[in-house]
Symmetry: C2
Subunit: 161 residues, 2 copies
DNA sequence: TAGCTGACTTTGCTATCCCTAAGTCAGCCC
DNA sequence: GGGCTGACTTAGGGATAGCAAAGTCAGCTA
């Protein structure tokens, strides 16, 4: 099993965590809605306007995000307005923030305007810029090419005759 | 400008780094192809088989990934075979690895089989498990709810009359 | 030089995503 | 209790992403 990468064809793709995550957030509008939610957007029309999608799409995606447990509907009341629901990130949804930060970081480096990126992400406590980095459980910083992929407990193998 | 999040509607979405990254890798098959590339897959038919996509789709996406500079075609020759091209991650492509790790991590937590995730990502140097974490330039660990979003140098504002 | 093989391309179809435009509906204000 | 407003839904249609099946093509091997 040492050189198990060569054996890669024997794996089944049915238990790939990346693919399963993409089943939930694998389209553009869903990730952009989560971007908005992580930046404090809460109301339906603001989601649609800020993401730049139509209302039918916003309604469908928000409904799915609530069904998947990434957003939560919570009643609220503005003064002089009637009761409404707002959409707030759950803990499950907030755990996707590293994905958003990593995506933003790549775009800042490779796709920003000459003037630079449009937003800057800061640490709330100290104001320093925030990055997504790879780190191992022993505390070392890890470079993108410094990772090895090994079989995990849920690895399924195809039957080979 | 202190409470600029309330002013969010004045932003234009045209210079959002997340959206621009999604313009490049915003569909399922592209990210799964990058997953494969980061795990060492190099040949056309292996990409198609391991990602579970048809050959026409694999051809189109790989071509686009090369055009976008995330993959590079490199001639190689196996003994007794003719010369072919293989697809290898460029530095630009490798910088998306944190995105893949963050996606995998979320799937491991929220969408894995009861038996656990199918693969484990280890630090090449020490074997400890690798995670995507948020860290600020001052060296602090940052929680998903510990970030503030501020205007950056490339922020475009809509004209307001 | 004939055949094999890996790497695609072509064709034709389906499904999903997203759009605009026009409804619907609930409940606070007056 | 009639109107307004925010939050959707419905209807109809275009673009993109995906599939399977079959065809092309280059260049080693024999």
């Amino acid at each position: 099993m040492t050189d198990f990468l060569a054996d890669r064809d024997a794996w089944l793709t049915t238990n790939c965590s990346i693919a399963r995550t993409l089943d939930v957030v694998g389209n553009r509008s869903t990730l952009l809605l989560l971007r908005e939610a992580s930046m404090g957007t809460r109301r339906f029309d603001q989601f649609a306007a800020r993401v730049g999608i139509s209302e039918p799409v916003a309604a469908a995606r928000l409904k799915q995000l609530v069904a998947d447990g990434l957003l939560e509907r919570r009643p609220y009341r503005e003064p002089g307005q009637r009761t409404r629901d707002e959409y707030v990130l759950t803990d499950k949804g907030a755990q996707l923030v590293p994905v958003l930060v990593a995506l933003r970081q790549w775009g800042d480096t490779w796709a920003a305007d000459a003037a630079g990126p449009s937003v800057r992400v800061e640490h709330h406590d100290c104001g320093a810029e925030v990055h997504a980095v790879l780190r191992c459980a022993a505390g070392h910083d890890v470079e993108p090419d410094g990772i090895d992929v090994r079989p995990g407990p849920g690895l399924l193998r195809a039957n080979r005759d």
